[in-house]
Symmetry: C2
Amino acid sequence: MSQDNAATKTPVRRNEATRARNEQMILTAAEHIFSRHGYRGASVQAIAEAAGLPKSNVLYYMGSKQALYVRLLARMMKRWNALLDDISVEDDPAEVLTAYIRRKVELSRRHPEGSRLFAAEILGGAPFLQEYLHGELREWVEDRARVFEQWAERGLMDPVNPVWLIFLIWSSTQHYADFEAQVLGITGKDALDEDDTEEITAFLTRIVLKGCGVREKGRAIAVGRTAE
Amino acid sequence: MSQDNAATKTPVRRNEATRARNEQMILTAAEHIFSRHGYRGASVQAIAEAAGLPKSNVLYYMGSKQALYVRLLARMMKRWNALLDDISVEDDPAEVLTAYIRRKVELSRRHPEGSRLFAAEILGGAPFLQEYLHGELREWVEDRARVFEQWAERGLMDPVNPVWLIFLIWSSTQHYADFEAQVLGITGKDALDEDDTEEITAFLTRIVLKGCGVREKGRAIAVGRTAE
DNA sequence: TCACATGCTGACCAAATGGTCAGGAATATA
DNA sequence: TATATTCCTGACCATTTGGTCAGCATGTGA
């Protein structure tokens, strides 16, 4: 990547491919272990075994257990942010909410262990995420909330509390990743397939849109019933 | 403390009050610690300190870390079951769902640490709850699901997938206990008060009822279908 | 070929882990 | 009072914890 061998002494980057591969193995293994047992319950030894590397090597790459953990949290937050694009009053509520719910379900489905890692962190009182929750994320929520309120003022949706609405979308979409063990136990399935996911997305979208009285684009009060 | 001097002979049981009190202290402390760090992450030492007792005493009362943990899970499941009363097709959907959502929010509010303990167990793959999830709980869900379907057949609500609906109610109601740290961070509050809880209950009830097209008792809901 | 720098890891450490147990403290019966 | 029975806990144990580090392996540039 960075070859600044001109100015300073040659940085002597060696087997960069191996390094990158090992790092990925460690991150994957760590996400697996941390998501299952939380920060304290996870052991570096277990992560090392899952990664197929000696424990010292894991520490050598990551510095410390805490650094590794924080890095995983950051990675998950980054994935999160990637789908938190801006919205404005001019946008169509139905479209925005539909797209957001779909992306949220998809992200949980693509990174269930990251989602669980995050959930475990919050469950434990979010000791490493206080700043993020009170800062960046809070502002994000406030921004969307303002838009939701403006939509309500324009009569595009019911005047529901926008923050509770966001929490509803978060909890209901992440549920299938975070509580996977429960979902599978109750449904009796080994895993949720593509069709299930699609059905769940449609269900949640329908409930949220209809529940908030969101009108379809252009049309008037068409929400009453959907195809049945 | 024990003054059963008269009446029957004391049945050898000695300081029963102290025993009961110590047990309660241990259970409370353990719920606190386990809910925060999960099974592996919690240490008996930490529980003992929180309970103000020597570690040996905790083990003496509870036998082992695992026995204590399982006991807490069982206690939470018992609380849970207490509000899972039977429903039948003859009941009014709006009433049943409204009452259920309210009780679920209240239970989460009354026992947030128990809720988090449960959540952590599920997050970790529910190693101690496989049987419960695949058995008792699954049957409970199937029973309610059948009733929801019959309601839909009778035109009392939309024909939504009843299992997804139950998951929606579970996730959205428990969210405020399980993700308390996030909720507080974003809202900027120190704690949710009675009014917040009431507002949230009303919000969730509204979304679910309206979203599922549940009619108020006797009459058709404002939006949507007309009377049949 | 030779140095030199970095990659890597087995051996090690102090602290903490869950659990055991001998034996003192407390109470009940005689 | 003496004796029996249960309650409790400090001291201890083997194992595991996160982390360090000396030193060998593996390059790279000359």
